[in-house]
Symmetry: C2
Subunit: 317 residues, 2 copies
């Protein structure tokens, strides 16, 4: 469930665009005003505001925000204002560039979006960067990591609930054999993770757990907790089966880090506020004994803090 | 260019559906009537007729055709009547089944359709078979063939005309090294073929030809003309760069075969009649010194022949 709140009566996109323009004008920018508008409009409404702003002022709202704002607040507001597919394409692109390279973001986008959302991300990537996401991923990774990421970002998983129990048992056995042989970079292991529907994969992993006494992620952890490929593999599995647990961990590590990892914090809040941040907040509270909003308020400040808190919602869980 | 001809004034879908119903009724089926309608309606019109037929008679037109017709004529008419994405999903499904397994068909569908068409095929596959095409391809192939087919059917190539010349030169060099080392199953070799846009790949292969004196397919042929993987690789390259040449060869081999390969003949005619069968016909005439329609008429008979000829058009080239 989303944490985003939208007022029951929303001004027209033209009015919102005008209020934003006013917030940019005069001495100093009125950040509070910007937050009060944009942090309480859904993706469709924000896109309409961008259109209205471009029509009235001949400039993309993102450009205007870029001129008026700075640092973490700017990045958070830009990411939030973008359309979800455009935002993911942008994050994926960054993640294949040398200095902002980040395989976790690629895993997140490839596994926690719906099949259709991932398709829209790939289309947005074409439009924006004039090439495909898989070209860039393939070009900027190698070895086992590439072997895993390439089919993952190219996947178009079936989304029905149908489960083939015989197949689940057979594939749980394959997974177990590969784990036992320490051969998780095996073609079949990767194929199962990258092509099966989430429902089918879930059945397979449940069967694994029931038959072999441990969850697969526990076995993989015992296998080599520092191995980068195995870590990524565990993230893939968590993202596909219990995404809120994965995102809780990203938030926990971002907040607990000395100096705070603002990029990770911003990314999770802006990409999940309209999706499942409610569930992630519950998970966070349970795991850290402190509400997410409290932890964010403690670690951040100024307009950046205000925006994140508005998107996260003030409630305890 | 398409060979399909549609009359300037087309009856309503309801009228067409009624005429088809009449052709099914009474003593014997009126195959001529069926051909005269369906072979001269485009994909959209055929879909409308199917809808009208289902509304009027509570039965899918495909089911009715299946009851009335038989053998090669039936298969051709069923394939033709389907929507293009549905038809490709059907052909792909068949191609992953043991007794109708056919890697060439998978290559054709993955490489000669547009990016959006391939996406629609993958969606149609979900709808029809409750799983993804990549699951079935992965499950029914192995080794190098799987390594090639899996990213190929999952690709979402960028379709713009932009070409990066520096990249083309660099990747031509990579391809050349792999060909020289007889290592065409290498990750990079496959990545380049499976992810680059057709325009970019074309530039790369032209550069290969200019720099190393031979087309890459010539080099691959010298390398081992009987190797199944290399044959498939050459087909991928031809499909991506000069599809009409690939289809001409499929037709030539189907027609020249003792007994005629009706499945291949039917597949090419029904899938290309609305796309580029005109170009394929030209290519066929040039390579075989006989018009395609003449060759088809010589090798086939009855209603099957009539349908293929209507779809191919009567002209010489």
């Amino acid at each position: 469930m989303a944490t985003l709140t939208v007022p029951s009566v929303v001004p027209s996109p033209v009015e919102d665009a005008e209020q934003l323009r006013k917030a940019f004008e005069g001495w100093g920018t009125n950040e509070g005003q910007i937050i009060s508008i944009l942090a309480h409009r859904n993706a469709h409404q924000r896109t309409q505001i961008r259109k209205a702003y471009a029509d009235a002022h001949g400039e993309d709202l993102l450009k205007a925000l870029d001129k008026e704002l700075s640092s973490d607040f700017e990045r958070a507001l830009l990411l939030w204002t973008m359309e979800p597919a455009e935002r993911d394409a942008y994050l994926a692109y960054e993640s294949t560039k040398r200095f902002t390279s980040n395989q976790w973001v690629l895993v997140e986008i490839a596994t926690t979006r719906t099949t259709h959302e991932l398709f829209l991300v790939r289309k947005a990537y074409h439009d924006r960067y004039k090439r495909s996401i898989e070209e860039d991923v393939a070009h900027h990774t190698h070895g086992d990591i590439r072997k895993l990421l390439l089919p993952l970002v190219s996947s178009l998983r079936y989304e029905g609930d149908e489960v083939n129990t015989t197949l689940a048992k057979a594939e749980a056995k394959i997974l177990r054999e590969k784990v036992t042989d320490k051969a998780c970079n095996d073609d079949d292991f990767i194929r199962i993770l990258c092509t099966r529907s989430k429902a089918q994969l879930n059945a397979t992993l449940n069967h694994y757990n029931n038959s072999y006494g441990n969850s697969i992620n526990k076995d993989l952890k015992a296998d080599g907790s520092k191995d980068e490929f195995l870590k990524l593999l565990r993230a893939v599995i968590t993202c596909l089966t219990i995404p809120e647990k994965y995102f809780e961990k990203v938030l926990r590590q971002a907040i607990n880090k000395v100096g705070t990892d603002e990029w990770a914090l911003t990314r999770v809040i802006t990409t999940r506020a309209e999706v499942d941040l409610c569930r992630i907040k519950e998970e966070y509270h349970r795991r850290n004994s402190v509400p997410l909003a409290t932890a964010i308020a403690k670690d951040t400040g100024g307009d950046y803090e205000k925006l994140l808190i508005e998107l996260t919602g003030h409630g305890n869980a």
